[in-house]
């Protein structure tokens, strides 16, 4: 009896112990589960917090990019036209001030609720002007336009022709020998016709102009004619400002460089130059429209001042792009875009960078830019080049260390040049090119 009882007690005790142990173990496990859960929760919360901060940062970056982009477009329009300079910048300020005043005024039922919206709209109100040609946007008199002055010069030859004819008639009237005078007249007609043809040919600028030809030009230019009409009326005030007033009748030369042809430089670039380390020399004048000056251009059609304006576009590109708030992963956009006119030998622009200072992307962009320009068939100032000519020019540019020879090799070896040509060139432009020969020469360089 007693033994049984003890046995039973032992059994119950053992069962209770077991149960107790199990409960203890369970409590331990619950603790572990909870601790793990806490840890996981903390980690998840931290991650969430981090993500939120990233999103907020991105949102700010995006907003900044948008805003700077809007301003870039606006300032591009302002930069393009000297007459509207600052217009796109001033309008938002004025518009917002006005909106605030109207909000305050009780006579009008309006409240400025979204200032940003109005600001952006005001910045962009003229953005379409980016495609408006300058000569239209800034047209100052009814007859002003982009004008090939060869027509005006031809008209002067017409005057010369008539002057010869009048002179001949006068001489005959004065009793000179008719036959002799007519012979003189014919010689003179032949001379001015040839001179006109010479000037007309020089104007096209397709080939190199020699020093002898420039001398000939100056001699032709110096012939005189008499102007009987006032040339100081019908002008815009900007044109008038540059003009010297002459009495009529006035002796004019056939072609001339005049004071009125000199367009002073108004846009100051020194600030921008300092900001970006540009080294390209700035011409003193904005432009020089002198007739002899322009006809004397030895190669191509651009004078020194105009060539600088072409170079200026890349400086503007850099200045604009650097004003954009690019996020970190896009921070090299201005550098890449801004180095495609640099040359390996340091003779490029606008910074005169050396080979190791130009990023490879800029070097690639340079090849793409040159090849496209060489092969394009839509530029009014040049006839389209054959594929072989374009590649020959690229080859010489590599030889002169203007473009990167290794990149050029890839461009040719990969067949990309042909792929592009097939897509974008006229079929008559695509001719045979001995790529292996060129690659061999590049290899030997």
């Amino acid at each position: 009896m007693k033994e049984n009882l003890i046995e039973e007690i032992e059994l119950v005790k053992s069962q209770t112990d077991k149960l107790f142990n199990k409960l203890l173990k369970d409590v331990e496990r619950q603790k572990k589960i909870m601790l793990r859960a806490d840890k996981r929760q903390k980690k998840e919360y931290d991650e969430l917090q981090k993500k939120l901060e990233e999103v907020e940062k991105l949102q700010i970056a995006q907003k900044n990019l948008l805003e700077s982009f809007i301003k870039l477009i606006a300032s591009a329009i302002d930069t393009k036209s000297p007459y509207t300079g600052g217009h796109c910048e001033r309008v938002p300020e004025l518009a917002i001030s006005l909106a605030k005043k109207v909000s305050e005024d009780s006579s009008i039922n309006y409240e400025l609720k979204n200032e940003k919206e109005l600001e952006y709209a005001a910045w962009l109100h003229d953005c379409g002007k980016i495609v408006t040609p300058e000569y239209v946007m800034d047209k100052a008199t009814k007859l002003e336009t982009i004008y090939n002055r060869i027509h005006e010069i031809r008209m002067r030859f017409e005057v010369l022709y008539r002057d010869i004819k009048i002179k001949a008639l006068e001489r005959i009237l004065a009793g000179e020998d008719k036959e002799e005078v007519e012979k003189w007249q014919k010689e003179e007609f032949d001379r001015v016709t040839k001179e006109w043809e010479f000037i007309a040919r020089v104007n096209v600028g397709g080939e190199f102009l020699s020093d002898e030809e420039i001398e000939k030009l100056k001699i032709i230019a110096s012939q005189e004619w008499i102007r009987y009409f006032d040339d100081n009326i019908g002008l815009s005030w900007t044109e008038k400002e540059r003009r010297e007033i002459t009495n009529i009748p006035s002796v004019e030369t056939l072609l001339a460089n005049k004071k009125e042809h000199l367009i002073p430089r108004e846009k100051q670039l020194s600030e921008m130059y300092k900001r970006h380390n540009f080294t390209t020399k700035i011409p003193e004048l904005e432009n020089n429209l002198g007739e002899i000056y322009n006809l004397s251009i030895k190669r191509g059609t651009l004078n020194n001042e105009e060539y600088f304006r072409i170079q200026e576009h890349i400086m503007m590109t850099i200045d604009m792009l650097e004003s954009l708030a690019f996020p970190d992963d896009l921070k090299n956009v201005p550098l890449i875009a801004g180095t495609h006119h640099e040359k390996l030998d340091g003779s490029g622009y606008p910074r005169g960078l050396k080979e190791n200072e130009i990023p490879i992307e800029g070097k690639m962009l340079a090849i793409a830019d040159v090849f496209e320009a060489l092969t394009s068939h839509d530029r009014p100032y040049k006839t389209p080049k054959k594929l072989s000519e374009a590649i020959k020019i690229l080859f010489f540019m590599a030889k002169d260390r203007h473009i990167d020879k290794e990149l050029l090799k890839v461009f040719l070896k990969s067949g990309l040049y042909l792929e592009y040509a097939k897509n974008y060139l006229l079929s008559e432009q695509i001719d045979e090119v001995d790529i292996n020969e060129i690659l061999k020469k590049l290899e030997e360089m």
Binding site: I33, M34, A37
Partner: protein, 124 residues
């Protein structure tokens, strides 16, 4: 072979009776965990009436909630009991970078010294 397809909240579960393999793979944070895993427990009861000589559990949970942890303790208790009669192997598979899964596995291993419990880093 029995199978439960995975969902956004629940893992894929496979019971391969012929080869003696059980696989639990995916995420596990169902709204009612114990209800979800009841199906598996029923299958296991049935399976262990006539099991293979060796049964392998491959568990690869990339995310699990607290009640799943609790369920797994219960499951391993159950398997510990079975391991007295049959050979049981548990492989806790986790990605090297999944610290939580690794630590959870370590907790289990510590608690079940009697079972063959392996921590297995997932091969890339």
């Amino acid at each position: 072979m029995k199978k439960i397809e995975s969902t956004k909240y629940t893992p894929e579960i496979i019971l391969d009776e012929e080869n003696g393999v059980v696989e639990i793979k995916g995420k596990s944070y169902p709204e009612n965990t114990f209800e979800f895993y009841k199906q598996l427990m029923d299958w296991l009861d049935e399976y262990f009436e006539n099991p293979q000589s060796k049964t392998i559990f491959n568990i690869e949970l990339i995310y699990l909630n607290s009640s799943t942890s609790k369920f797994l303790y219960d499951l391993f208790d159950y398997l510990e009991e079975k391991s007295e009669k049959y050979e049981i192997e548990i492989n806790w598979i986790y990605d090297e970078e999944n610290e939580v899964a690794e630590e959870t596995g370590e907790d289990f291993k510590e608690d079940f010294e009697e079972i063959n419990f392996n921590l297995v880093v997932k091969e890339e």
